[in-house]
Amino acid sequence: MSVLLEAKNVSKLFGGLKAVSNFNMTINKGELVGLIGPNGAGKTTAFNLFTGVYQPTTGTISLDGKSLLGMKPSQITQRGIARTFQNIRLFSELSVLDNVKIAYHTHLNYNLLEAAFRVGRYMQQERQVEETGKELLKIFKLDDKVNEIAKNLPYGAQRRLEIARALATRPKLLLLDEPAAGMNPQETKELMEMIRWIKKEFALSILLIEHDMSLVMGICERIYVLEYGSIIAQGVPDEIKKDPEVIRAYLGEEA
């Protein structure tokens, strides 16, 4: 197995607060990894560091062996990391299809004048985006809603759309931040199936943050546990479940 993402000794300070400290993580190609830990442990911050929203105070992060330091989020997306957000961030006034179309942004290369006068590469590329976009939505059972405004979708559909949109950027690594938040146990079960299927279908690696243990223990191949910005444990689900440190800090007794 080859390494896709590697974070070495990463720390992030907010003022005096060490949100992430000495963080080390590797994700291999094709892996599905979980990241758990108490509230405020620094999980989302880790995502933000991977995607260029924040720059690490110290340490290095690399994708496919190439450093991501100093890159803007948009550049990192072009390199192949896509994400969803803890609090859904759709383009809420736009149609479902437009949400996905925007994600193809980096794969379009007609220039400003071609766009303004609708000549050259414009027509052909626009047609292609429209078609691929619709196909993708079909996979996520959103094809009957292509023209609906995103904010009018039910919550679950919004979560699906956010994942579809992330996939449209054609990532190598997909980061999911609490995809099951606000879902009931049944909905969570369905989501679990979907994540498995995506990983296979799109042949990518996934890193996910989640507080719902049924999901995390159910699908993750490996799990990292964060507390106060530091990794306190890592391993396969069965090890993690039994780890006394994890039970003390996060799971609680009789987990």
């Binding site: 383009f91 925007i102 006068f117 027509m123 626009e126």
Partner: protein, 313 residues
């Protein structure tokens, strides 16, 4: 897809018909000079509002300095005609370029600001532009620039407007426009989709500023005279009102907003003392009646009646 171009073609034919009718009314002197002038002003205001809408409505960047760029275009155009005797078309092009370049230079640092902070910064920049002009004696300073030839006629105003509207319409319906709208909807998510938000914000600001410059050049050649006081932040408010009234994020809305407000203003000139009070009440009333603007963010042309016009979906 060819239907896209067909639609454009149809729209152009319709525009030509509109042009022919109005030009006929002017030539036959059915419209008196007052209204002839106002029709030109409407075209200029449409350019202003549509270009501002690209910045405010589509890209979601709250700019209150649009009149400043108009001033740049106006003074550039005026200097070229009066002091360098350049043909009008050169004036328009250079006005675009100068306003766009300054827009870009201003946009680069300020587009980092958000919301109301951006609004006040752009307002301030608009005022700075105006105050600098006020201190340049070469263009008449605070006393104004006089003796500009009256070159702008209805044909110039109309066709330049048509060009600008089509340019911006096609722009927003491309991946460029989608990037802008994505920024408006959620900047962080837009970045996560690979949209270089700074680039597209500055680009929208630059293009918007450039076309405001074009409008300014037309404006300068309409009234014989330009004056820094025509380009205060109150003028910028006026264009803002037009796009809000029409509906942010709707080009047809901006056109309607510019048309309606300019016409109302002109009609009210019959009651000079009460004109502004009535105007103010109308404004407030319209906001109560339709807070999201007349068209919201929907294009008039996407309403059902217009569908078959466009050749269907």
């Amino acid at each position: 897809m060819n239907s896209l171009r067909k639609r454009d073609l149809k729209a152009i034919v319709i525009s030509l018909i509109v042009f022919a009718i109005i030009q006929g009314l002017i030539s036959s002197e059915f419209l008196d000079p007052f209204w002839q002038l106002n029709i030109i002003v409407i075209c200029i205001n449409i350019i202003m509002s549509v270009s501002l809408n690209l910045i405010n409505g589509y890209t979601g960047q709250f700019s209150l300095g649009h009149a400043g760029f108009m001033a740049i275009g106006a003074y550039t155009g005026a200097v070229l005609s009066v002091n360098f005797h350049m043909p009008f078309i050169i004036g328009l092009i250079v006005a675009f370029a100068v306003a766009a370049i300054i827009g870009c230079l201003i946009g680069l640092p300020t587009m980092r600001l958000r919301g109301d902070y951006l609004a006040i910064a752009t307002l301030g920049l608009g005022e700075i532009i105006r105050i600098v002009i006020m201190n340049v004696n070469y263009v008449g300073g605070a006393a104004g620039f006089m003796g500009i030839p009256k070159t702008t006629n209805f044909a110039w105003a109309f066709f330049v407007m048509l060009f600008v509207v089509f340019f911006i319409k096609n722009y927003v319906n491309s991946s460029y426009g989608r990037a802008c709208v994505a920024i408006r909807e959620n900047e962080i998510a837009a970045e996560a989709m690979g949209v270089n938000t700074t680039k597209y914000k500055v680009l929208a600001f630059t293009i918007g500023a450039g076309f405001a410059g074009v409008a300014g050049c037309l404006f300068a050649h309409t009234f014989y005279i330009i004056h820094p006081s025509s380009f205060t932040f109150l003028a910028s408010f006026n264009y803002l009102i037009m796009i809000v009234m029409g509906g942010m994020g709707s080009i047809t809305g901006s056109i309607a907003g510019a048309f309606i407000l300019t016409t109302i203003s002109a009609l009210l000139s019959n009651w000079p003392e009460l004109r502004m009070s009535i105007y103010a009440l109308l404004l407030i009333g319209l906001m109560f009646y339709r807070p999201q603007g007349l068209f919201g963010n929907i294009e008039l042309t996407s309403l059902p009646i217009f569908r078959h016009f466009k050749g269907g979906k």
